[in-house]
Symmetry: C2
Subunit: 633 residues, 2 copies
Amino acid sequence: MRQYMSVDFTDVRIEGEFWRERLDTVLARTIPSQHEKLVRHGILDSLDVPQPPPPLRIPRNERHNFTTQIFWDSDVGKWIEAASYALQHRRDAGIEAKIDAIVEQLARAQLSDGYLNCWYIGREIENRWTNLRDNHELYCAGHMLEGAVAYFKATGRSRLLDIMLRYVDHIASVFGRGEGQKRGYCGHQEIELALIKLYHVTRDRKHLDLAAYFIDERGSLPHYFDMEASARGDDPKKFWAKTYEYNQSHKPVRAQDKVVGHAVRAMYMYAAMADLAAELGDAELKRTCEQLWRDVTSKRMYVTGGLGPSATNEGFTQDYDLPNDTAYAETCASVALIFWAKRMLNLDLDGAYADIMEQALYNGALSGLSRDGTRYFYQNPLESDGSHSRWDWHPCPCCTMNVSRLVASIGGYFYSVGADVLAVHLYGGSTASLTIEGTPVVLRQVTDYPWTGSIRIEVEPAAPLSFALKLRIPGWARSATIAVNGKRVDANTPARGYVEIRREWRQGDKVELDIAMPVERVYASPKVKMDVGRVALMRGPLVYCLEQIDNSDAPTELLRLPRDAEVDDPVRDDALGGFVRIAAKGAKADTAGGQALYGNRPPDLMPTQLTALPYYLWSNRGPGSMTVWIPEV
Amino acid sequence: MRQYMSVDFTDVRIEGEFWRERLDTVLARTIPSQHEKLVRHGILDSLDVPQPPPPLRIPRNERHNFTTQIFWDSDVGKWIEAASYALQHRRDAGIEAKIDAIVEQLARAQLSDGYLNCWYIGREIENRWTNLRDNHELYCAGHMLEGAVAYFKATGRSRLLDIMLRYVDHIASVFGRGEGQKRGYCGHQEIELALIKLYHVTRDRKHLDLAAYFIDERGSLPHYFDMEASARGDDPKKFWAKTYEYNQSHKPVRAQDKVVGHAVRAMYMYAAMADLAAELGDAELKRTCEQLWRDVTSKRMYVTGGLGPSATNEGFTQDYDLPNDTAYAETCASVALIFWAKRMLNLDLDGAYADIMEQALYNGALSGLSRDGTRYFYQNPLESDGSHSRWDWHPCPCCTMNVSRLVASIGGYFYSVGADVLAVHLYGGSTASLTIEGTPVVLRQVTDYPWTGSIRIEVEPAAPLSFALKLRIPGWARSATIAVNGKRVDANTPARGYVEIRREWRQGDKVELDIAMPVERVYASPKVKMDVGRVALMRGPLVYCLEQIDNSDAPTELLRLPRDAEVDDPVRDDALGGFVRIAAKGAKADTAGGQALYGNRPPDLMPTQLTALPYYLWSNRGPGSMTVWIPEV
């Protein structure tokens, strides 16, 4: 059922200014500084087991109030994955030595039966596999597995992969539908997609089967988390998150049609489901994914591609409930939406998936990393009174390595290849080395995208080759032109988001794509009551915002954009690594007129110049207020 | 320092349609039905002590998670108070027998040392006075005391008052600054204002002193709630509400300048402070009250007079944080704001106090009681998707009796008298029998207020008498006319909200006051971000709202009011006990155009007729959505 395969990021050399800068920052600063923080916060030390019980040992009756230590194996695994992607760009003996040291720790920690969760081994091994609902054992295994696969692919060294293969064998012996096995699955989905990555390396069907088991068993009755809680002596009804919607086990996965609960859990699960649908040719699972996709993108997504309005469940609430100031919109959730979107694209080449992938990438995901590559957002609200700012590290550092592993592998989201098709999803200066029907093809993009919509594509097959080049015309684009070797091609009637150019391609062929990229006013559905009467500015894939520092230091909540205000031509700005600035004649509500809370006149408006910058760049110049959705007057 | 005395409600006969209907409903239906509910929910039975420990006995380590049973004495006290007010309107042997039966229960329950809290006596008497922070003992005492004072005034029977006097003596022996006394005060203020009511009956200075002690001791260091928690073996830092701002003991009362924490606690305390300032001539306390008043009314009050946006602390959060759909705005808080406002008016005759009193009365307080007088709101949001509706009873039924005791004594909020001054705060058909400088004066209002602004006032002194009649010109009024015996008097330059007519008044004098009462558009400060771009409709003191049932069954969140839309002349409607309806040519956002969550055009608007009714009347015709703040387009 999989129609397309992604082109691996190792085959795409990033050259354009935008992604080159982000990638260099992640490789040079983010990944090394993340290792430093794993050391400083004791996360790497925690792999040395057994060790004396730590001060944070959790009393039996509060075990759901897990400490973040319980996730630490996953953070190490995610760093190994990100660092391994860095090695694919450039081998580095220092990083490899650091990873090998971790591998030694893991080798020492692993039990003879293959079990490998350092938190349980070091603290209460007798309780392993007794609280899948809360305690993230399989989640940790999944991230370590992703790290092991990535390190093996980067270096060819298999020691970590072998360790994890033994652990996976242990897991497969414990969980399943056989006699004496536990019919469990993880409270935080993640191992499912990791097992499919493993399968892509081993091609051993048992790894795919285990992933499918975890997906299909989820939510069946009697409910595993009920049984497990009773076995612990806990009351299953006293689940701290109150509903199994929290971890998407409220009903069998194939019966789910609403995106609910914890956003990252949901996205990781849907990504695995899309993978499984492709691997197994499972049309029902594909339809389930399509329904869930429609649900989240038509009712439950911020314009930034942020997901999950609520801090309470780190996830979803009601349709159209998208508050801006209290938006949780965890960085991880937008990153995981990108994972899912890419997998949907391979199931079905529909530009709607690529549109959302791009929207989440340039906004809700990229906002998670600071300019200097060492500071982070966990939550990505669309409005702030200035109290929200980036942090150096987080008690739960999941987002940090999610953004570094995404950026370090960004080239992997640019292309898909099918039988005689090459589809371009993302634009950006780069050179890709592909194979289409056995023939090597080099595809070069020369462009300043996303700052301009002009893209020159050079196609260089090793020998003349007939195939369809499918160029994505973004959903945000109102018009585009395409010329092949100087001859115009119709660009304004794309089929499901892509213009297809089918011909025999030869060395030296050039395609010029020009996507008009004016500043656009964007409005939310009137059902999103937080955005009623408000407008957002976008240019290309980028959502813009007003920051206090650029707007005469006015609290941005007082700024207004007249419906008929002219927006000036966008201007390049060399600050913040270079970006395109938007200015408009706006207004500011007058608050100097005294203290009245209510009055008979609308607030006086004073003319002011509005200056907007891309949302992903906000909060890099000290604290201050910020607004994406500007009241339109 | 007290410049004015309220005219007691017993001296004001309510005759006008508006309050006559509400009063009759409360007397005939609300108060009897509340007694039935006290019986049905076991609240009256709970006064029969000792009794076997109930199933809800609270484990030591969860004692802050109090059950509502711990408040039950207060609910009984509040019902006695409301029922006693009813007796002032018309004696009723049935009601008196019910109250006397309760008094017998209390007499049997009272311990020999005077202590009288049925929850503690029946359950864990050994723990009395060990958790003032959470367990409401003095709060319960305060409400029972208010009930006892009211019943004594209504019937002259002193048995309950005597019981409570013994209890107050016990309390005065336990609490204070003397040797061996506890330097405590209640976590929920209430007894302070009750003691001042008692003082007005007994004129025994010790009752005033005890009230003053509770106010002045509050928030001093070492903190009583810390000491008390440690004495219980609890960690004082583990206060479930996290901050002593919750109960306004975070600093000494006189040092407080921000309205914080639980809204009802705050309002009860400020009411007592205003009383004490008046009784003691305490200028500092008066200034504190004035500062707190400015704070709440200029930054932290809904347009309905609702207080407290947050359910978490049932109270205040940040300045200008006034979300509409999640507004807590407990009925009790608006009722208590009225208590406080009336006391401020007696300290200083400023129409600003009467304006807020009227605003809270006709909107946030009155909304708490259904048309039929037997259903209630605890929370009073300004917007609902239809999920908020009235309930028959509540696990914490505090609001029910707060609204009944307010309405049953409504005449007491109409007037104040000073040395040679009679001030009219509220308008409504009624006949008051006053005494000014020893001379009886009958003052009759003939009016349909609040449905019209035409008020005829007949002044009938027993003998010709010189005094100043001060007529309030509401803050919402843009123009008014006054004629005395047909001769115009300047009504448009009131001094601090009142037009003063000083003359020798004689039998047959008539004052005609005409306050223009057009529909007004009201806007919030631009700092209230939830109301940006929105308008509320008011007419006179009444805030209006849109209910789904009146607006083509459209979800009210989709309705819009054009800035230039004409508002039709208000129309009398006989439904819902009679009210004035407002209609306007509005618009409705089109949601039929598909599923797009974000797009490049503002939503299409379709013309529609908007119909608004007074906010206090909403949710009397089944579930449906409701909006006060309408997006203005």
